[in-house]
Amino acid sequence: MKAKNIAIIVKKELRGLMNERTILLAILLQLFVALFSSFLMVGLTSMYDPSSLSKYSRFRYSVAYVGNDSALNDYLSNSRDFTVFSMELSPAVTALQERKLAAVVYVPDTAPDAQDPVKITLYTLENDLQSAIVNVKLKDIFLSYEKDLRTLRKARITEQPVPLAFNPTRGGGDFFEFVYGLLIPLLLFMPAIIASALVIDLITEEYQHETLETLIASPVTFSEMVWGKVIACEILIPIQAGAWIFLLVINRIAILNIPQIFVLVTISSLVPILIGALTALHYRERTAAQFIFSTALVVVLLLILAIPANPLNMVTRLAVGSAGTGQWLVLAGVAVAAVVFSVLLQLYAGKVGREHHAG
């Protein structure tokens, strides 16, 4: 194996990628994923915790209170989110239907300490964004009222949970688990998936476009050609991962232990690339190779995620700074896997290469 020959192949493949502007598509794709992640984040949060968008928190919703007077009425009246009107049921629901109200609450005359539960009827608009927001705001009020009722009926409860008090926090912390526990590992390992699909394309292309003979006739050996392609794909990993880390950091998402993350991602991404190369050498035909590889990838990914302290989890822990010494074990494990698959690829490529030179 000559480093010079491998370098020639690496350059050739990278140039090919540049010329076809496929790299551009890959970048667009990643931007798109990021855009949609943020959409999901903002969308879901605003849906389930509307006060996270300041726009809604300034607004007072009109609600009608119907039926027996209760502590709930006081809670509603004292809330900064609602303006409460005492009304009759029929006009109130009609007004709701005409969108003059945001919700109608009906309270029956069940005594707070009665044997039966207090059943409140809540009328809201069907399939409406606003009523989703109102429901979430009403939920807090209902929870306070539930707590009062529970205290009144305390004597009948045989086992109380261990009490735990929380101080209200100054917001924040909403996106923490999403960003560090999902987005960062996902974004940093996506280049590995793209690169391993790419290595299959590069190898099967030589077979299916029948350009292999030309290559074999050249001074480059078969193994050198395979390694050149693997390295060309591997080079893309730190570039893409680096771009992501850079983008996240300038978005003021603090990532700790960047050098360790970089090393871990680069080494662990080599494993799927090597597996992809082995699959491609075995099948020599894109459809079968991609099919088998992607199914296998799903199996392996699921399996890895089910194991505690997997590389993805380690990226999360490194990024938040709670990795500890376990990180070196994981890194060593990944490195061993990479070496094992490298040896396998070297042996297999050597065998296939001898067949080609003989035939």
Binding site: L29, S54, T94, R150, R153
Partner: protein, 601 residues
Amino acid sequence: MGTFADIVTIAKWEIRRTLTQMSKDTLPLAIVLFAALVLVMGFTAQSGMHLQDGMYTIGVDDPTLAQVLASDTRFTVYELDDATLWNNRQAFDLVIYRGTALPATTERGRAAQKTVQRDYGQYTASVYNRQEDLFAAYPLWIDIQTVKSELDFTATQSGQYISARPGAAAPEPEGDLLDVPTPSPTLAVTSEELRTSLAETESSNSQLSRYTEMLSSSDTGTTFKTPSQLSPPLPFDSIILIFIFIFPLYFSSQFFMMSIMNERIERKGELLLSTPVSAPAIIVGKMLPYLILMLAISAGLTVYIGAPVSIILPLIPVILFFLANALIIGMVSRSFKELSFISIFFSTIATSYLFFPSIFANVHVISLISPLTLIVLTLQGTAYTATDYLFSTALFWLTAGVLFYVGIRNFSEERLFSEHGLLTRIREFVGSSLSEKHTFASLFLLNGFAIPFVFMAQMMCLVVFFNLPMPFSLILLILFGAEIEEMAKAVGIYTLYARDPSFFSWRNLLLASGATALGFLAGEKLLLFATLAEITESVFGSILFLSLGMLWLPLFLHFTAVCVVATCLKLGGRKWLVPGLVLATVIHCLYNLYFILGWLT
């Protein structure tokens, strides 16, 4: 009959070839892998996803709480006595000290507190669920009655998000009073049924719902809820089921894509083209096995999960859409690399378009732009109406149809074996549908048929932006909506220009712009009247599809904008395409702003 026989022959041939081409161990290995997949899924379900393990380090002085929190793998829990805990509190993200949770003043500390709060909520729920006297532990039950508002979106048309304005006096209903019966004060179900539904809620709080920052409350058997169950239900189970449906469809369409690509490698398809079989018959024949496979998979899954058969109906246009795109991608890409990247790109976008709206299935009408929402609703037990079906699938039917037409038109030796770059090839594809003789008529048709694609792209923007705070979502929507339209209109003009720059005399330029504007307008209005009433009535719709009713104004706008692009091309050459587009977009935006915000008046 002849065509039909041809199709069957080609289909048979396709099946035989696929089976022989795949080496012998592919199929057995695939079966082994699928078996492994099932096993691994079982294992993962059992052991859970370990993605967020050990994110927080917390110290607890209470043994019960320590045990509760230790069961959540996100925490590394240290159980210490009071004094040690207090002295070392700096080392933790959060300490639980004498019955109070004290988070560190970092982002991680605040996030830890949220997670502890949620886990604690679950713990209290599990304690209360065991109570003999359920109504002492859960004294408050809420019965949600939904009211359908006939006004729906029209009230928000003025740009106001919320119409219920607070006033000093109680609002007076204008219409006839509804007769609303007084609700019964008692629950209609036994406390045992309620206990079961509470237990369900507790267990459905899976790891997946962590990401969504809430205690999810999927459909409990009863309509009565405790206050903590009040969040709008997120249809997680159904969404995961949809994944199981869509995933095999992606795979199958990949095979079709590859089969088309294979015809083009080393001109292998020449043989096929030299037979007297027509291009449509070849394409339909090649597609048929995959179509049947996909339908069979969908039907099999439906029967397996015991879902209503009606969920296949929304899947059919989705399947055709995948196949149509597979055909075009297989026809335009020059190499495997390109094929991979384009297909990954396409499937990401298609997935987003299909999935994200369906998350809001229970919350907002906007979710209906994805056919998958119909499936979610059906799985939840709500039937969809014919209007719903038309509304969510129309764009898929239309775009699939147009793409098939383009594919068939270009299924010729000249196009299939051309070695041009991607963009040039796409331009060639468009070009072959522009006739040389009836240039203006075909320009008219091209723009008419571009409309479904424009709508799809705009819908995508709508999905992305509708959750942003109001002014931003409007501004972004105005910008992107205008830009997408201008780009679509420029396609025909640019193709003509690239084919023959001398074609654009001033007279032809005006005529071409006119044809483009007319075609665009005709397509827009036709599709709008047919399907999109639900969206068009919202304030967002009014930006995208402004000006129903007045026809000459939008025609003039389209004409002016296209003219600007064409003139830029004529005077400046190809370099001026982008500046021309920018200019046209600006004009389009100003026009929209004038009508929506009443500027300049």
